[in-house]
Amino acid sequence: MSESRIVGSSRLSGALLSALGWIVALGLFFPVFWMVLTAFKQERDAFTSPPKFIFKPTLDQFDAVLSGGLNAALANSLWVTIASTALVIVLGLPAAYALSIRPIEKWQDALFFFLSTRMLPVVGAIVPIYIIARDISMLDNVWTLVVLYTAMNLPIAVWMLRSFMSEVPTEVLEASRVDGATLWDEATKVLFPMIAPGIAATALICVIFAWNEFLLAVTLTAVRAQTVPVYLVSFITSEGAFWARLSAAATIAAIPVLLAGWVAQRYLVRGLTLGAIK
């Protein structure tokens, strides 16, 4: 099927295109590779011209960042990510059900309303959010981020879950109803197991967005509730001094989501386009 696209291509031009694919991929991936490589360097190996590709690897930088405040930020990030994702799934499943399997009245309007909330830029709402959080003494509190990340991810999750649910053949659900299953049984014993991969994919997308979020975190947290991207800000001021250490911190920050995204790559496009493209 692929040959038909490159019409009249000889074997040589095919090989060239494959090679080009590899070159482009390695080029775009290089900054990630370089980050991981630099993380295993001593600082003196990180500052060299020409750059060093071969050196004696060390774990010193990981030790340094983990004992220097990163683990507190990691704990906050982990908690905020897990709690908000769990909330999103718990709230999103019933919403998606009411928009696909037993659609409510005007469900298309409801669906597009969800979508429109996702299109509001965070920056447009940041001032009122900040003032509200300040007035109810919720600044620098992980729960503030949990609530906001839940709200941020809910529209995507509803769209994704809905698209997975609407793939379930109605006959299966009808059969379970005929057999006398209650709504709860129908949902937990038939529907949710059938869309389990979809639920997992949705959760992974929410994890990616919550883990990487920066604007809300940097404005609403300071010390106690600092998440990983906010911790990284401290490296701006020490520019030029600690590249290897910065790379180690960035590697630790980036790897969880990188792995999650690779695992879920089949569903990535679906989440990013709010379920519009499979």
Binding site: M1, S2, R5, I6, V7, G8, S9, L17, S18, L20, G21, A25, L28, F29, P31, V32, W34, M35, T38, F47, S49, P50, P103, F112, L115, S116, M119, L120, P121, V122, V123, G124, A125, I126, V127, P128, Y130, S163, N212, F214, L215, V218, T219, P229, L232, W243, S247, A250, A254, V257, L258, G261, W262, Q265, L268, V269, L272, A276, I277, K278
Partner: protein
């Protein structure tokens, strides 16, 4: 506030940054999608590597771009460009906006690639086969068959990309802090500075209204594109999840209209 030159400047920067990054990332994403759409050894690995930039925490990636990649003396970009005779450029201060656009393009190209790949893989291969039999060259079938088919996917990429890239904040905060001067101060960063550095909450809130109003214009168009994707039966039947929109009318001859008579 609207007459404030700072605001108008930030608006201009926002438009330049968004337009530049969206156009570049669509082009790079299209190239990547075309390359990965073919079958070849290690295609899965290549695709996996290509989506990595989108997944890496933007704040972390921006810091690394600023330091290990773009540092004028020890940065790897200048080392690579050295043999070409452009070896000692301080990218972040000499070409600040270009730097931000490149970093954002690097981040968003995989996103565009995934959308366009979805589009390419939804194309009816038999149409391409027929074109080949009729003697069309690769360029012709791309120009007259693939590109029109991709149009709505490109539209989707452009509108979603615009909505996200208008909000660019992480990379500006980490790499240039809006500078030098105000060379990279876009609306989100201007708002952040007004609210949290100058503590002028009223003006920041007004800026927020401007941002929201601009987004509504883009988003209205975006919603129209998305809803058209959902209601176009030809595309919808093949790629989109429309089972509840058109549960009983999956067209069997989907794609028929693309076949030249």
């Amino acid at each position: 506030m609207l007459t404030d030159s700072g605001t108008r400047h930030a608006l201009l920067i926002t438009v330049e940054l968004t337009a530049g990054a969206v156009i570049l990332s669509v082009l790079v994403g299209l190239a990547c999608a075309l390359l990965v759409d073919r079958k070849f050894l290690g295609r899965g690995v290549v695709r996996t590597l290509l989506i990595a930039p989108f997944l890496v925490m933007p704040a972390a990636a921006a810091l690394l771009w600023k330091t290990t990649m773009l540092n004028p003396v020890f940065g790897i970009v200048n080392w690579v460009l050295g043999p070409l005779g452009i070896g000692d450029v301080d990218w972040a201060s000499e070409f600040p906006l270009l730097t931000i656009i490149v970093v954002e393009t690097w981040h968003w190209a995989p996103f565009m690639m995934l959308i366009l790949l979805g589009g390419l893989q939804s194309q009816d291969r038999s149409v391409l086969e027929a074109a080949r039999v009729d003697g069309a060259t690769a360029v012709q079938s791309f120009r007259y068959l693939t590109l029109p088919h991709l149009r709505q996917f490109i539209e989707l990429g452009v509108v979603l990309g615009s909505i996200y890239i208008v909000q660019t904040f992480d990379s500006i905060f980490m790499i240039t802090q809006g500078g030098p001067g105000t060379a990279t101060t876009n609306l989100p960063f201007e708002l952040y500075q007004t609210a949290f550095r100058a503590f002028n909450v009223g003006q920041a809130a007004a800026l927020g209204v401007v941002v929201v109003a601009l987004t509504i214009i883009v988003a209205t168009y975006a919603l129209r594109v998305i809803s058209r994707l959902f209601t176009d039966p030809v595309v919808a039947a093949r790629v989109l999840d429309i089972s509840t929109f058109h549960r009983r009318e999956q067209p069997e001859s989907a794609g028929a209209e693309e076949v030249p008579a």
